[in-house]
Point group: C2
Chain length 207, copies 2
DNA sequence: ACGAGATTGTACCGATCGGTAAACAGATTA
DNA sequence: TAATCTGTTTACCGATCGGTACAATCTCGT
């Protein structure tokens, strides 16, 4: 059943990386080929519509990962504060404390925004909605939860930019810490240690 | 003394616009020529080092504008709350409530970051420093002021991304309103009206 | 009017762009 | 074995890329 040769799915992670690092227009087929180890023929065999289809595949994978790892717990987890803490920890790891760019955010400011507008919007709407749901279940008022959820999501995006501009991951981690203070309602006595940075070896994982 | 023909300075604003809209690599010389009305000959006459020199000129102009309109008042204005309010109003207008991308922020996440790393860093460091100075003069503690200043600057960057992703300038304006609530220490009775959106006609101004 | 310097238009360069076509190879199934 | 589906290689396409060269034009002080 499983094939010996490369599968389409194996190309998604390298594709995500090369689009993150070089953007949509900056990621040439030569770079893509190098990153995936696939020639043009194979690439167009897996993605007949070229780069656009590759990005859509990557966006789908990213959306699925966030759905499973972040949105769904925020919406369904009974331990709301735990889900929020998990969101912050996952985010910190996923974006490598700001060293890794958010592809969706980068696409949102590029001139290619219109091509993927729906996917970009969906990514952020789902995030804000899920976080708002969690904040409401904390007992907060709906409007305030909406505002706070928006603030949190945009703070993460801004933290990526600022920490990259400063070339200082501590900026990102301070932002995450601040968010934890504003989002989590403290009522337990457990001593939760702060930002958990990811170890540098497994840089290829997490989509 | 003043020449009849186009000057180098006249090209800066169109250059800024085209780099904002298309990024560094995406802004081809054809697009640049169209935006500035200058042929390659003139372009390379004014900017012998090509696109890199054009971007540096734009970054210099942007930095100067922010220095005069934002940083300097934050550092020197005796009416601290007024300077902060002015910063938020200027920012809202400059970025057209999130419809206009921040070139510096966009460069910070692009793969060309290293080329302009120093200018990018300087832009954000000056902003955070100036805002911290204002917050300290409000009577806040230095460390808290630093954190809050960082939060404010990254929130503006994140607000641009989120409002563009949502295609909704109201997201940006809500973020500005939230920032005003967190940054300005209310002690007067004057009724200050909220976010002031810029009129859509004069889109070419402000660098 | 003249020469000098500033500005511009145009042709051109090699390299690379995204994408296509088709021959080819490997495994699978009948 | 023959046919088929899947995947890979390679050569190639026209268009555009950033950049250069240089002649032509313009402006201005003398």
């Amino acid at each position: 059943m499983a094939r010996m040769v490369a599968e389409r799915a194996d190309a998604i992670a390298p594709l995500a990386e090369v689009f993150r690092e070089h953007g949509y227009e900056g990621a040439s087929l030569a770079l893509i080929g190098k990153a995936t180890g696939l020639g043009k023929g194979s690439l167009y065999h897996f993605f007949p519509n070229g780069k656009e289809e590759m990005v859509r595949a990557v966006l789908g994978e990213i959306g699925q990962w966030f759905e499973d790892a972040v949105y769904s717990p925020l919406r369904n987890e009974s331990d709301v504060n735990g889900a929020i803490r998990a969101m912050l920890a996952s985010t910190d790891q996923y974006f490598r404390s700001g060293r890794r760019v958010c592809l969706v955010g980068a696409l949102a400011v590029a001139n290619t925004r219109d091509l993927f507008a729906q996917a970009i919007r969906g990514y952020f709407v789902a995030w804000v909605d899920a976080l708002q749901s969690a904040l409401i279940r904390q007992g907060r008022e709906a409007d305030q939860s909406r505002l706070l959820a928006e603030e949190a999501v945009l703070a993460i995006q801004g933290a990526i930019i600022l920490s990259r501009a400063m070339d200082d991951p501590a900026v990102f981690q301070r932002a995450i810490d601040q968010l934890r203070g504003r989002l989590v309602i403290e009522n337990d006595t457990s001593n939760y240690e702060g930002t958990t940075d990811v170890s540098p070896q497994n840089e290829g994982r997490l989509v």
